[in-house]
Symmetry: C2
Subunit: 586 residues, 2 copies
């Protein structure tokens, strides 16, 4: 090694040792005859001292080095006179007696600091410099630790990591596939996996009993801020299990990660039915760091002559405790918030329960104080509380109120990123109606098992069938989801038929899985976690892009390497494809 120690390891115990360090120059300060240099590597920062009185030539060489130069320094460890309590090596410094410049550096296009002056585009182009910033190094190392701990936990429970193929087969079900033209099989294509779903089911049929994999998955979607064309899943499957076994096992994984990574003992995760989550929080991924549950007011708010309520399918509100003092301006702000197009409410009704026991609402002319008292009772509100009420059709109103609830959580500081509240949302509907294609689609995927007690509804009332499907939600983020799978050939055939597959289509796309069911498929189920999201949550970062070493931008481009890019005519020819003429791009 070109060093004897890292920049993070020297302490007062090492005083007087002759050491060699390597690293990057974080900053340097000239103070009269002394030059102080902060030398940085992944492990920390150590202060170097070059003294013009000891070695003039050396000190002058040191003085000429710029930020981000890579150097090797030899010197003696000395106690610092003014210690720095903020860094682990803050008690010592190195009195340099030799200096080798291993590589120079141009002036970086932005500062290598947590609070950098570089904009996002610039930092993406120079991602290798952006990755030098401490905040990013912390996220990348955290990601590694979470990966290691995940594997440790699952390995200890006899899970086997098995790699499934990346060059698989395109299926029209689900999101859009990325495809790969085959050179040796002309006119044919592989597809990159959206998930290893069918392979992990086959592994259960093969008897592997407990499988997991940290695996890249691919979806060719129109990009949104928290989506990437390639992302990482913790993909898991177990045999001979019922739903509760899966939840226990993976709640255990979550607790293990909280304990090992963040040293937090989390409570057991409550289980909430999908129906209840929607009714009480307007969302299938409720943020349980705060209450503010929905209160439905249909029976007390309608029939009093206020048309907006009378014509509404649902009148529903939340109680913002202690907010009766909200000003006109603040309330207008909330109205603006809920009526934004992306939220979509028509308006906001408020009810203040004043400290003096009186009520004040935006709809006083329609409702008596007794009427309002009935609302307050429903909310179980106390003097000083502010109730915020929306009305309209059930779906839109709940969704809008859910957004308002989160906004109030933000305004009231109830969404502390250092506090974590998890839950399981269970009993998802098996199917959802798709207006566009006029047919049912699987809410999870076509291999999800309906609940035994609902199977009889499958043909007559498919929309009423609940699935053995579950999501793990932490702080309002869907961290993972899964289901007990169908393992019976007949039921799977029926499921495909309900989804509008012809026998031939089912056979052509999933024939190998259907056939596998004929050879002794065990009962099985599993789950997949969005690893990027989980890391972002633990790292306290906003976007999954912040916890991916080399992410793509919102257009799916890697602007550092300039990809995707054109390929040669020769390559196209070998692959037996060509660019469509009318849109050919140079």
């Amino acid at each position: 090694m070109l060093r004897t120690h890292t920049c993070g390891e020297l302490r007062l115990e090492n005083e007087n040792e002759e050491v060699t360090l390597t690293g990057w120059i974080q900053r340097s300060r000239d103070l009269g005859g002394m030059t102080f240099v902060d030398l940085r590597d992944r492990y920390g920062i150590t202060q170097l001292v070059f003294d013009v009185n000891t070695d003039r030539k050396l000190a002058e060489k040191a003085r000429k080095m710029g930020r981000e130069f890579v150097i090797q320094v030899k010197g003696k460890v000395a106690e610092r006179s003014n210690k720095n309590q903020n860094i682990s090596t803050g008690d010592i410094e190195i009195l340099a007696d030799s200096l080798t410049i291993l590589n120079k550096s141009k002036v970086p296009p932005f500062t290598i600091e947590d609070e950098t002056d570089g904009g996002e585009e610039l930092r993406m182009k120079y991602r290798y410099l952006d990755l030098r910033r401490q905040v990013n190094q912390d996220s990348i190392v955290l990601r590694h630790q979470m990966s290691i701990e995940t594997k440790k936990y699952l390995n200890d429970l006899d899970f086997v990591e098995i790699e499934t193929p990346y060059l698989i087969k395109s299926t029209p079900e689900g999101a859009r596939d990325f495809v790969v033209p085959s050179r040796l099989n002309k006119g044919a294509f592989y597809a990159l996996p959206q998930s290893p779903q069918t392979f992990k089911q086959l592994l259960m049929i093969s008897g592997y009993d407990k499988y997991f994999q940290l695996v890249k998955c691919f979806r060719d979607e129109d990009f949104r801020s928290d989506r990437q064309p390639e992302f990482t899943q913790i993909d898991c499957e177990m045999s001979f299990v019922e739903q509760d076994d899966v939840l226990q096992n993976f709640e255990g994984l979550a607790k293990h990660l909280f304990k090992q990574i963040k040293n937090i003992d989390v409570d057991d995760f409550p289980r909430m039915s999908y129906e209840e989550a929607i009714r009480l929080y307007g969302s299938d991924k409720p943020d349980l760091r705060f209450g503010m549950q929905f209160v439905e007011l249909n029976d007390v708010a309608r029939g009093k002559g206020f048309k907006v309520f009378d014509n509404a399918e649902l009148v529903v509100g939340i109680n913002a405790e202690g907010c009766a003092g909200y000003t006109r301006k603040q309330l207008d702000g909330l109205t603006d918030f809920v009526t934004k197009p992306q939220i979509g409410a028509k308006g906001l009704v408020y009810l203040k329960y004043n400290e003096d026991g009186s009520f004040k609402s935006s709809v006083d002319k329609f409702f008596s104080q007794e009427d309002l008292k009935a609302w307050v009772d429903k909310f179980e509100a106390k003097p000083g509380d502010l109730m915020l009420i929306l009305a309209g059709d059930v779906g839109t109103t709940r969704t809008a109120l859910s957004e308002l609830r989160l906004e109030m959580g933000n305004q009231l500081g109830l969404r502390d990123p250092k506090v974590f509240r998890g839950l399981w949302v269970v009993d998802f509907p098996l199917l959802e109606w798709d207006e566009e294609t006029k047919r049912y689609q699987a809410m999870h995927h076509p291999f999800t098992s309906p609940k035994d007690e609902d199977i009889h509804l499958l043909e007559e009332s498919p929309e009423k069938v609940r699935a053995n499907a579950y999501d793990m939600v932490i702080n309002g983020v869907e961290i993972g989801g899964g289901s007990i799978r169908i393992h019976d050939r007949e039921l799977q055939d029926k499921m495909f038929s309900v989804l509008g597959f012809s026998k031939e289509e089912a056979q052509q796309q999933f024939g190998f899985l259907l056939e596998a069911f004929d050879y002794g498929a065990p009962p099985h189920g599993g789950i997949a976690f969005g690893f990027d999201r989980w890391v972002a949550l633990f790292a306290g970062r906003e976007s999954i892009r912040d916890v991916i070493a080399f992410p793509k931008n919102n257009a799916g481009r890697d602007i550092m390497i300039d990809s995707p890019s054109t390929i040669s005519e020769e390559q196209l020819k070998e692959l037996n494809i060509q660019i469509r003429k009318d849109e050919k791009q140079e």
Copy 2:
């Protein structure tokens, strides 16, 4: 769980416990009123007993079950009268008192046994059944354990696993890329990585110091028996290292795996220069489980009038100790072996050093006994030895003799798969001349650093430049290889120029890396291991296909899922590509 125990865990201590097991029926035997069933899961096999005298209905139900049925059985653990020492549960059996058939099975198309009656094609089609065979389960679990132990070792040394992208940029250098058409960037393509080489170098420039990744890589090659279009690497890189540091670190990994996985303490790996390996073994991946080093005979074998030798660039042989008794037929067999087209020797000369001290060779008429004595001295042969000699141009002759050496190793039982001998081959040439393109190509890759002392030869005698490159070889298999990289912009520019890149080409393909060198690139180097090969070596399996859960066949097809396959016209249109008309396939 649908079980209380696995099929591998019950012992005599569990006697009289009421247990529930689940699994597959491996076989069943009817003996009078008793039906014995071997129930199998990943963990083992447990014997079940159904007694017609205890429960006639149950026993009859059991009797009707076929191989590979999936069942759940409750019963009491009892001591067996005739114990089976071959299995861990052989002391006990389960007296069944209830039986649930969880799933039926058709008769499998081949037997689920280590020695199966299924041919390769059939087993590939039903890979999920093939994977049930114990020999395959063992390989897949071994692979998992090697992965876990690799990560443990590297994590303990502060290596960070960092995921690099799969959707990257196509470069004409090296093997053929698989490409992925971009829908959002019309006419443009991503490429799948042949290795994360440039990304891991960028991570060093980013200061991550020690990186590793178990990662899929992709090469669109014409398939050979031990190649797969997708394969797994243990990819590693370190900063501030010299060659010896990398060798030490990863020899440590090999020793760790040998100890943890196979409980073998291996010797230190000798280091052998490429030149020496080629001279003594005719191969840059010599199998050191046995000696039989090459002995060159030019000075004693030429000039005696035997034209074949006189015209040969090289006369070289090996000594097969104790084989002087080889029969005419055996010797003819060896001649046939070396003259096969794929070996390519013109003929084989032998020299027997008989037990009585006399010599007998196939070229006796050209050489006196004294001449032959000089050969024997070169070989340091003893009475009873057989010397096998080839002649011709240097390259072909060494390669052919290398094959003959391995063949003799096989014949003499010197290549025991349970014995392991590793070494490092070092000092590879930096470049090799490519006759086809009439230019130099990088032997390793264009980022490999030449040896400091050879840099001055780079322009005038590029073929003489040695690289800081190394391979780890175990039992004649190249397990991994790597190099110290260039970290200096100027040297990298020069390297591209020696390789015949124009400035523009270098910039277009690797501009991001060249630019990164300008911002403080540390000295760095690394290695990548072929994980599939390493697992196959440890598992004692012939092909890497045997240790991949879902491999492709020699034509790059997954015949189980029937991939690659055609995609819809709609998909092609969205991707802005079309199949070339003249070769369109339905």
